[in-house]
Assembly symmetry: C2
Homo-oligomer: 354 residues x 2
């Protein structure tokens, strides 16, 4: 893969009061095979007023898959997702949502310009409380820089759904429809407690020289909240005595999850984004754009009751889908056809100018 680095001028459009784009956007249009949709990566320097940490100079890192003249769909996943939504000819590494994005899929880069960014804080350099509303402002600033007036849709999963709700509340003129999958207007106090203990695991690990242990444990705890007992029952055997210790069936899997995550994520990024989920507090009545709410019956982090309440309190055209899934909170990653059908329905008839 070869990259062609382009310099594009700073956009003239004025952003929201809280966001100011500074300096030049650095746009890397990736070398694209003839006939395949273009892919571009870039960085935008902005100044944002953060809710809990004041004015900050920040860098937004985005990836755009599909021609910029097509209607733009913004996609946001969980706190561990990033700007690389799907593999492309130019950037063939696995994306976090290859199941939904690519030729012939619900998010088809021949029909949409699929835009995503790395969360504020994901690089581990921003060690302050981050509000989901800050992320929504950052996305608005990114759209300013890329001269995207309005989104065909904002599709958010988990934390991305929370941020999508914030975006719909604060920047309602900039999107035609929000799809909020497995994320609501608040964090449930039990889920918040669960995450608080994950952060304590990181803190416990940080007392040692090697803090990857704490981060791995935190991730393992998170995995237990993402999946369901029914799935574990199918996958894992009973505990056995190994040496003079008891080892349970899921431990090999959890070891793998912990090590992989600790290798690719900074502890500070995890802690600050985990905290950010817990800061979600939004009045659904403030949202008047169309929203598709998607909940999963056995989601142990986001109870269906919260999704139902959200749908009832939204003030625009609202659709509610409740999925049955063995994968609980992770259904958006695992239930390809069901999610695809919902996305296709949500995007149909939402054609807007790019």
């Amino acid at each position: 893969m070869s990259l062609q680095i382009l310099s594009v001028p700073s956009p003239p459009r004025s952003g929201p009061a809280a966001a100011r784009v500074v300096g030049n956007a650095l746009d890397a249009a990736c070398a694209t095979r003839v006939g395949t949709p273009p892919v571009a990566r870039g960085e935008i320097d902005v100044v944002l007023d953060l809710r809990h940490a004041g004015r900050r100079a920040l860098t937004l890192r985005y990836e755009r898959f599909g021609d910029a003249t097509l209607p733009t769909v913004f996609v946001a996943g969980g706190i561990s997702a990033d700007r690389h939504v799907a593999a492309s000819a130019a950037l063939p590494g696995r994306g976090w949502w290859d199941a939904q994005c690519g030729d012939g899929k619900a998010l088809d880069p021949r029909r949409h310009s699929v835009l995503a960014f790395d969360w504020l804080g994901a690089d581990g350099c921003l060690d302050v409380p981050l509000d989901p509303a800050d992320q929504a402002d950052a996305i608005a600033a990114l759209l300013d820089a890329l001269r995207v007036e309005r989104l065909q849709a904002f599709i958010g999963c988990s934390y991305g759904a929370m941020v999508g709700l914030q975006f719909a509340a604060a920047h309602s003129d900039r999107l035609a429809r929000l799809v909020a999958i497995s994320g609501c207007h608040r964090s449930h106090p039990h889920a918040s407690a669960w995450r608080a203990l994950q952060r304590r695991a990181v803190a416990l690990g940080a007392l040692q020289c090697d803090d990857s242990h704490g981060l791995a444990l935190a991730r393992q705890l998170a995995i237990l909240s993402y999946r369901t007992p029914a799935e574990f029952d199918r996958r894992f055997e009973a505990a056995t005595v190994v040496g003079d210790r008891v080892r349970v069936g899921a431990e090999d899997y959890l070891d793998h999850c912990g090590a992989t995550f600790a290798n690719r994520f900074a502890p500070t990024a995890f802690v600050r984004l985990s905290e950010s989920i817990d800061l979600q507090a939004l009045n659904p009545e403030s949202i008047r754009v169309p929203v598709t709410v998607v909940a999963v019956a056995d989601d142990r982090l986001v109870p269906v009751s919260d999704a139902v309440e959200l749908a009832e309190r939204l003030r625009g055209d609202t659709r509610l889908h409740i999925l049955q899934s063995l994968y609980g909170h992770d259904a958006f990653l695992k239930e390809g056809p069901a999610i695809s059908a919902i996305l296709s329905e949500a995007l149909a008839g939402q054609e807007v100018a790019a």
Copy 2:
């Protein structure tokens, strides 16, 4: 409170092959006010063949509330419960099941001799894998030493229910009825994974000088599995930014739970008893005594489906109660009247000679 130390002879009855009582039982009949039921504490030295650790000399520490000539009810709670089931005139400290045991309660020391012991491993001195079946053998050895031929009932909650099932399978001639509350013939693989991560928190803490941090975190994680999201939703507020950190509503409560537990429990005891839960693996068809199975609809550790399977596979007279409770796995500690009614029903018509 004054204690009167008595020496009672080693019992002549031969125990099961695996258990041998050695030395003298040390029985402390506690000073009792006239008219109040007697209380006795004692220690019994035994030799047991442990499933995963071979032959071991062990000390069994018991407490008996009610006259020894009354029908004996053995009571066993979770891994953090101990021999002090209820407060008495002679031992007025709070017991772990005061709600059910005392004058006029379901377990009335004027009608029953309520017997309990400290789990094998609870003193932190036995650092080996402990099988729930080992605990059942230890209880049989204790009954030998105390010359209790047969129990009117074995009442077990959580881990105690697992041990009760083992006792019913291996020592069926020694009990008239088992009441198994929130504990089954196996550990669910998801609950086992949850506990395995609690043990990892202890291990992470042990890498430091002060391992109370790890144990406190483990307990906090356990608490989340004992209680329900619905309870947390009622009790705790949304997260707030405190200083430059996010603090969730449940953290004060979790701090308290962690500190209290770390003060009174040894890390080794916690790890080995936690492991022991995961070693539960029993064929319900091997049990032919009457069993009352009690499950809680929103128990996040012991799914109702496992309790239903247990009830279906037991071979004796079986009753199944499914409770609705805001307190999930902890219902046996919190749902006083409902549990009391079940215990009273189970004990009625189960009169046996002491």
